[in-house]
């Protein structure tokens, strides 16, 4: 099965990191990504620019509205994702628990819908 691991974190915490701890976080992600590539679980993954850069698009009654900001204001923001291959939810949970942000934010695990 494929799972999308959505990484939610409080952006203000990220913004307030000093250079040294920022380097440690980047290092931790690099190691994590290498590990799940080596284990064959990795399908894809990216970090996202902060929600300040987000734009939301809606069409209502044929009318298109473009607004500044994310879909919803939340205490923690979507900051990145991994797409992984895992045998089942338990394996996906283990993979999610390995993401550095699990210690400070929250990882949402979502199975990818299979069309058959």
């Amino acid at each position: 099965m494929q799972f999308l691991l959505l990484i939610y974190e409080n952006e203000s915490i990220i913004a307030n990191r000093d250079e040294q701890s920022q380097a440690q976080v980047i290092q931790a992600y690099a190691e994590y990504t290498k590990n799940i590539k080596d284990s064959g679980n990795y399908v894809g993954g990216d970090a996202l620019e902060p929600v300040a850069t987000a734009t939301s698009v809606r069409i209502r009654g044929g009318e298109r509205t473009i607004t500044d900001g994310p879909f919803a204001e939340t205490a923690e923001q979507l900051g990145g994702y991994y797409m992984v291959e895992a045998a089942n939810l338990d394996e996906a949970i283990e993979l999610a628990a390995g993401i550095p942000a699990a210690k400070t934010g929250c990882i949402e695990v979502r199975p990818v819908m299979v069309w058959n």
Binding site: E85, N88, L89, V109, V114
Partner: protein
């Protein structure tokens, strides 16, 4: 649900194959001792073979089909719950699937009762005082989540086992408490819930032998349940432990649970269920209320506080301290503990804090203080049986 259709077809094919094999073999090899179980095994193996052949990386876990199959089989075994399980590993896997933390607590409880306890949806709905449709929907949603989220149908890895086992034990404990609580509702059904919880604990105990906390939970439930005939009087009112007719306790069950608990505690891996069971055992094995080993109960509550610090445990400990140190010093020590708990603030709206204070003051002879505390408890109590009990106490004081 697309997969159900497919799995149903698979199940029908497998059953047909099993019957074909039976017709071929039974005349020459003889009819097996449990023909039904034999057919289920063959059909199940066919399904598993098929799944194994078909399984690709994208294949979904066949948990839902197996849930249905196993629950049918569970029901047929229900009459003889103490018999060796036909498929121990699968039943164990099923318990962990039903109690997976990715399911909500209510869903875990309902699913466990439905598939392992073999209760009908209507019975579960009545037990939890929700409409049938609500419970049916809860079960459907839970099964869908198992299928779609890829909740595995497997015993957790050794690393995950302790954490996941805690979840299973919690579900069993919740089921028992639902039955044990003296709320309104169908008394027979409530007793049946307690019975189901004990049966589930017994099954888990057989599947994971020598796991101290599993034995602890089983013993705890058995010890509580052994007093089932004396907890409520003919009018449906609560009877306090010290007022219960101890000759009507089920002493055989108590002895059995106490012995199992002792063996488990010798493995030296204490846990909250073992400690609570040990406390229950001291109560259950005392011949009379005044024979209760209160000092040891205080010690056990102190250990429990260390493992699971909670204001409720502290409250129980305070009551035990009052009893342990005798009528003179004990009551004051107990009251001092209650003051400390109240100062802590978390239980000020908990009726049993005030009921405990009322009880100690009453024993001490401070009647107006006791009456005030009973009145405060009455303001906060919600359970009807407990309310009647407190009202009785208050009236007795006023006379």
């Amino acid at each position: 649900m697309r997969l159900t259709q497919r799995d149903l077809q698979l199940a029908e094919d497998a059953a047909a194959e099993a019957y074909a094999l039976a017709i071929q073999r039974w005349p020459t090899e003889g009819v097996p001792a449990r023909p039904g179980a034999w057919l289920t095994t063959v059909a199940r193996n066919r399904i598993l073979d098929r799944h194994r052949r078909e399984r690709t990386a994208r294949d979904k876990a066949p948990a839902v089909a197996q849930l249905a199959e196993l629950s049918a089989q569970e029901r047929s075994e229900r009459d003889d719950p103490e018999s060796a399980p036909a498929y121990p590993d699968e039943r164990l896997a099923l318990i962990f699937t039903c109690c997976h933390p990715a399911l909500g607590t209510e869903a875990q409880v309902a699913l466990t009762l439905r598939t392992l306890g073999g209760l009908s949806t209507v019975e579960i709905a009545r037990a939890f005082l929700v409409p049938d449709a609500t419970m049916a929907q809860r079960l459907v949603r839970a099964k869908k989540k198992i299928q779609r989220a890829g909740i595995p149908y497997a015993v957790p890895t050794p690393e995950q086992l302790p954490e996941r086992l805690r979840g299973v034990l919690r579900v069993v404990y919740l089921i028992f408490n639902e039955g044990y609580r003296a709320t309104s509702g169908d008394a027979l059904l409530r007793r049946e819930l307690c019975g189901e919880a004990i049966r589930l604990a017994a099954v888990t105990r057989r599947l994971l032998p020598d796991t101290p906390e599993v034995v602890g939970l089983w013993a705890l439930l058995r010890l509580h349940h052994a007093r089932r005939d004396t907890r409520v009087d003919a009018a449906g009112d609560l009877v306090l432990l010290e007022d219960q007719d101890r000759t009507r306790w089920h002493h055989g069950e108590i002895a059995e649970a106490a012995a199992a608990l002792e063996a488990a505690m010798r493995l030296r891996a204490p846990g909250p269920y073992q400690l609570q069971a040990a406390i229950a055992a001291l109560h259950a094995t005392a011949r009379a209320p005044e024979d209760t080993d209160w000092p040891q109960i205080v010690g056990l509550y102190t250990l429990l506080m260390r493992l699971e610090p909670s204001p409720i445990v502290r409250l129980n400990r305070a009551a035990a301290i009052a009893m342990a140190r005798g009528p003179h010093f004990g009551l004051d020590a107990g009251l001092r503990e209650l003051d400390a708990i109240e100062a802590d603030g978390s239980l000020t709206r908990y009726h049993l804090l005030h009921a405990a204070r009322a009880d100690l003051l009453r024993r001490k002879g401070v009647l107006d203080g006791a009456a005030k505390a009973y009145a405060r408890a009455l303001e906060l109590v919600s359970n009807a049986a407990e309310r009647r009990y407190l009202e009785r106490r208050l009236r007795a004081l006023e006379n």
